[in-house]
């Protein structure tokens, strides 16, 4: 499938910002199974590119600085990606990050009592068959945590969202990651795009989980949509949790208040 993506992120401030740096992970991964980047371009308004590099998870990173005296910054990305339905199987991958790194809990994905209990429920199916086990776990997460906007925020931990019983795709993914790790499976967060059947304009980018299964390698699980990613999905960045794969991670000086505006279109 050929997916056309256009994504604009704008941060507006109530006064000029003294100094701000933004780390961007917005370029879809190339050279991976099931995904071919046909064209991609990024441009900035109110900010200037400083450096571009590949990070420890092989994400393409661009670091930009807000221009002096600027009161807003816009990041426009657009391009075309060719995808293939691999029923969620990404395969072994080619990064240098050791597998054990994905077994370690991070601050946002440390399992507490709620997640430990969720994980325990899938233990038996997991013992029979790893793939069915993670499907079972994914179903359990979806059942225990209903999709609801506005109840969590980017810094909500997996355990907090699981206790609240509500969350968005980021929370679903982090809970599944946390539970999978608790059961000894390497797991990671994926940020990316998803083509929706009922609309072109979307409010936010998407996120899901990948779990490492012996023999298959990385396999994607989208808890929120109860499926394994197919050719409607575009993988952009991976990390041990949302914060490491986040499309935008920034730091700024001065107390200006910030307003975020996203314009995103995904279409065939």
């Amino acid at each position: 499938m050929r997916l056309k993506i256009s994504h604009t992120t704008t941060y507006a401030y109530d006064r000029p910002v003294d100094y701000a740096l933004l780390q961007l992970r917005l370029t879809p991964r190339g050279g991976v199974a099931g995904q071919n980047v046909l064209s991609w371009s990024t441009r900035y308004e109110g900010a200037t590119l400083q450096v571009a590099y590949e990070d420890h998870f092989r994400n393409a990173v661009e670091m930009v600085q807000m221009d002096d005296g600027s009161q807003s910054v816009s990041i426009h990305c657009s391009g075309e990606i060719e995808t293939e339905d691999r029923t969620g199987v990404v395969g072994p991958g080619c990064g240098l990050a050791p597998l054990w790194l994905y077994r370690q809990p991070t601050k946002a994905t440390t399992a507490g009592p709620v997640i430990r209990k969720l994980a325990a429920g899938a233990k038996d199916t997991l013992a029979e068959n790893a793939l069915s086990g993670v499907h079972d776990l994914s179903d359990r997460v979806a059942e225990a945590v209903s999709y609801a906007k506005g109840t969590t925020h980017v810094a909500t931990s997996a355990e907090e969202a699981a206790s609240a019983g509500q969350g968005v795709c980021q929370d679903h993914a982090q809970i599944l990651i946390s539970a999978a790790r608790h059961l000894g499976l390497p797991a990671r967060y994926v940020s990316g795009y998803l083509l929706l059947s009922d609309r072109i304009d979307q409010e936010a980018a998407h996120g899901w989980a990948e779990v490492w299964l012996e023999g298959l390698g990385w396999v994607g699980f989208d808890v929120s949509n109860a499926i394994c990613p197919d050719d409607r999905y575009v993988r952009v960045a991976v990390g041990r949790d949302y914060s490491e794969a986040a499309p935008v991670h920034g730091l700024r000086q001065g107390g200006a208040s910030e307003e975020l505006c996203v314009s995103l279109q995904v279409q065939q």
Binding site: Q23, V51, D55, H56, F57, W100
Partner: protein, 475 residues
Amino acid sequence: MTDNRFFDEMLTGAGDARVPYSEYAKWFSGEDPKVLLKKSNEAETFFRRIGITFNVYGQKEAQERLIPFDIVPRIIAAREWRLLEKGIEQRVRALNAFLADIYHRQEIIKSGRLPEHIISRNDAFLPQMVGMTPPGGVYTHIVGTDLVRTGENEFYVLEDNARTPSGVSYMLENRETMLQMFPELFTKMKVRPVSGYPAELRRSLSECAPPNFDRAKPRVAVLTPGIHNSAYFEHSFLADQMGAELVEAGDLRVVDGKVQMRTTMGYKPIDVIYRRVDDDFLDPLSFNPDSMLGVPGIMDVYRAGNITIANAPGTGIADDKALYSYMPDIVEFYTGEKAILKNVPTWRCSEPDSLQYVLDNLNELVVKEVHGSGGYGMLVGPAASKKELAEFGAKLRAKPDNYVAQPTLALSTVPIMTKKGLAPRHVDLRPYVLVAPGRVHITPGGLTRVALKEGSLVVNSSQGGGTKDTWVLGD
């Protein structure tokens, strides 16, 4: 008189001077002890004047103190030094190869020579360094290898300080002091100079600069946490001595894809940064967001290959005490040779059998925290009271992973000047090693630390140790 349980580097059991000390002993016997004592006191004035003091952590009122200096030099023969040099170079090459491997393919783990958990459960492993090859391929540019001696040809490596070894300013100032006080000794004896260290440091750091700098020579800067840091004197001293900029985080900013320093003439790019700021505080954008001591974005610039950070972030994984016990294997794995310098036998308390042995023999062992440094939180069994042993035993049982134990080594002694004349005291040695692409430079000398208290085996300056000038003799 010497205690024959310990190897004295100056005097043999019969009371004769060993060969490296023969010239010095001859000179010493012709001097008036009263005059020497007076000179010894003058040395302290000298240090006060140049301002070498350090802060002692963990004391109620952080106070500036002088590290006591002893005027009797520690003398090493040319033949002895050659052995040490070979051994240190081998070890430092292995450490760099190990770091490159750990942050790339991890062959040493795949080969089964190093258990995965030694790395995976170690906080010093920095994920952000995975896949990163620093400019010039050097990870640990400056190393301070802590050595102890137990006999004529018996040297052990106690610790590999691969992150930010301090104390080199004492090596330089101790020599300066000795040259001023005893110029005649330096005409009698062929003592190899140490004064080239700052120039060598500058040279080796410059050789590791990113390849794309566009100026006549790379700009080097020393990044200090600031005046309140215990080693601030050393930071400013080294910057001054090697002709580098001394900067704090607030002086630096990312401009045009480079880390640049604010000057009265605008921003000037830095090619090599010798940082004396810990990994966690180095970059609030990539690491601890609350750090005021770091430069936002420096890791991005680093990963893009536009700056050299010395030592590389994440080098702490190589000098961890849990890793230490694997060093003989590590040296062999990367150099294909047996380690020239010995490792102290080490019990890993994380292993149940070892823990039991350590608990059974606590009064004979030295127990260290895996992540500790500077002699804090350690137990010296033979010197501990029953109560201290019992308390430490409880700590060990509660958190065995946190500790390693070693036998109490019979550290060699070198005499110090006391009111009653020469008296033997235990010493260690930290030579300073500089690594450039394809080249390892070891300054002939180093920092000799001495336990001033009679019988004490703890040489750390934070625990009442002093220093001596270290003389390596030429052929």
